[in-house]
């Protein structure tokens, strides 16, 4: 039947039901494990090939010489979390985790070494 307020019967019921939105950060939803979040870098596996830096689309992953070893450094301010670096790495030295709460105050504070 064509009436105004077609959704009303359903809507009224929701007044007393729990809302679906959550009050972040008091309540949190857990992201799936497959989420592409902050990466973890395993220095011991890295062979300094530079493939990760070559394929990074946003220049977040760059090669630096630290303690005598050439290795990638990830600046999350630039990172788009595409996980291409993890895929390009021949030694699986880069691993994406599901950590996503990366807010910080200053540029350059979120660096993964």
């Amino acid at each position: 039947m064509k009436v105004p307020g077609k959704m009303l019967p359903k809507i009224i019921g929701f007044i007393v039901r729990k809302p679906v939105t959550v009050l972040y950060p008091k309540q949190r939803l857990t992201p799936p494990e497959t989420l592409r979040g902050k990466m973890k870098f395993h220095l011991d596996r890295c062979i300094s090939c530079g493939l990760c830096a070559r394929d990074c689309p946003s220049a977040a992953c760059t090669m630096h010489e630290i303690d005598g070893k050439k290795r990638p450094v990830f600046d999350l301010d630039y990172c788009t979390f595409c996980a291409q670096c993890a895929e390009s790495c021949p030694k699986d030295a880069i691993e994406m985790t599901s950590e996503f709460e990366l807010a910080h105050y200053k540029k350059g504070e979120a660096i993964v070494k």
Binding site: P4, L8, I11, I15, P19, T21, L23
Partner: protein, 332 residues
């Protein structure tokens, strides 16, 4: 001062108390903000959102009042400032006539119903003036819409609210309230009028589905588009207060307001009971208003006008006819 029986013989202090604190301006102020909270919260819950915290409307008001208040260069300064004040003042004035604590308001006389009705049209005019003199094309468009819609809800609103007065044969709200409480059947007779008045009130308050003058996605905020800071705060407060007074008026005229009155000593105790009854009824009306806005889309100007002339006004006339018949046949 002509006082009704509930307010009779009280000293000046109580009058002042009545005027400014309870159930006067301060109470209206608090209650308006509370209704806004209810409106937003229940609406949010219906949409499965969490909704604002309790003091949010108050916080919004304070924040707005503290903000920079800009008057656009093109706006007519005087009218631009006067509009929200006029609107708010009219509503506060109308509020004083409502019988809230006892069957009479602060000042009850034959014809007070008509006065309240007139006072309640002023905020709409204020909105029109504010929009028109803001010098903004969206504001003017909104103002035009306010003006062109005015009659499509004012006429049914007037007609519907006159029904109980016709049945009872008095233009005094106190009499209507008394009559209603002694003749509960009247509610059924004037049920149609109640529904019409409710719909028209929704239109008066410019709420969905009749929020045409302010249609956010069409003309941004309509008349309010140039308002900011304190002036906007006043308009918003006026809107909330109008909702309270409008709903209160329906509660009085159709649902017998604060009656049944319990006589208690001292007098303010019975005031409080009366006010509670009034509050419950008003909140019921407000709840209906919220329900109405939750499940509909905004209609167009032309649709609203044709809806008013095709349905609301004819039905209101039918209701008046019923009222006259009832009176003619010897009342209820």
């Amino acid at each position: 001062m002509v006082c009704g029986k509930g307010v009779e013989g009280i000293d000046i202090l109580l009058t002042l108390l009545y005027l400014f604190i309870f159930p006067g301006f301060l109470f209206l102020f608090a209650f308006s903000l509370f209704t806004e909270y209810l409106d937003r919260k229940i609406y949010a819950r219906m949409q499965r959102r969490v909704g604002p915290p309790f003091l949010q409307p108050f916080a919004d008001l304070v924040k707005l009042a503290a903000k920079e208040d800009v008057v656009p260069e093109k706006a007519e300064h005087f009218m631009f400032t006067a509009a929200p004040i006029i609107g708010l003042a009219a509503i506060f004035a109308a509020y004083l006539y409502l019988p809230i604590v006892s069957s009479t308001g602060l000042h009850s006389f034959n014809g007070d119903l008509v006065v309240v009705l007139y006072l309640l049209t002023i905020p709409t005019l204020a909105l029109f003036l504010g929009g028109w003199y803001s010098g903004n094309v969206f504001g003017q468009k909104g103002g035009m819409r306010v003006a062109s819609l005015l009659f499509s809800y004012e006429i049914p609103f007037f007609l519907a609210l006159l029904t109980p007065a016709l049945i009872e044969g008095s233009w005094k709200m106190a009499d209507i309230v008394h009559f209603e409480i002694s003749h509960p059947l009247e509610f059924i007779v004037s049920l149609l009028g109640f529904v019409i008045a409710l719909i028209a009130l929704q239109g008066k308050l410019e709420r969905l589905p009749f929020d045409i003058p302010e249609a956010e996605t069409e003309i941004v905020a309509g008349p309010l588009v140039e308002y900011s800071g304190r002036r906007l705060a006043l308009f918003r407060l006026a809107r909330d207060a109008e909702m309270v007074v409008g709903a209160g008026l329906l509660a009085v005229v159709f649902l017998a307001g604060p009656e049944p009155i319990v006589q208690l000593e001292p007098v303010y105790l019975s005031w409080i009971v009366g006010a509670l009854v009034f509050l419950v009824k008003t909140l019921f009306v407000i709840f209906l208003l919220i329900l109405m806005k939750s499940a509909v889309a905004r209609i167009r100007t032309d649709q609203m006008i044709s809806f008013a002339y095709k349905w609301l006004i004819p039905l209101a006339l039918v209701q008046i006819f019923i009222a006259i018949m009832v009176r003619f046949l010897g009342g209820i």
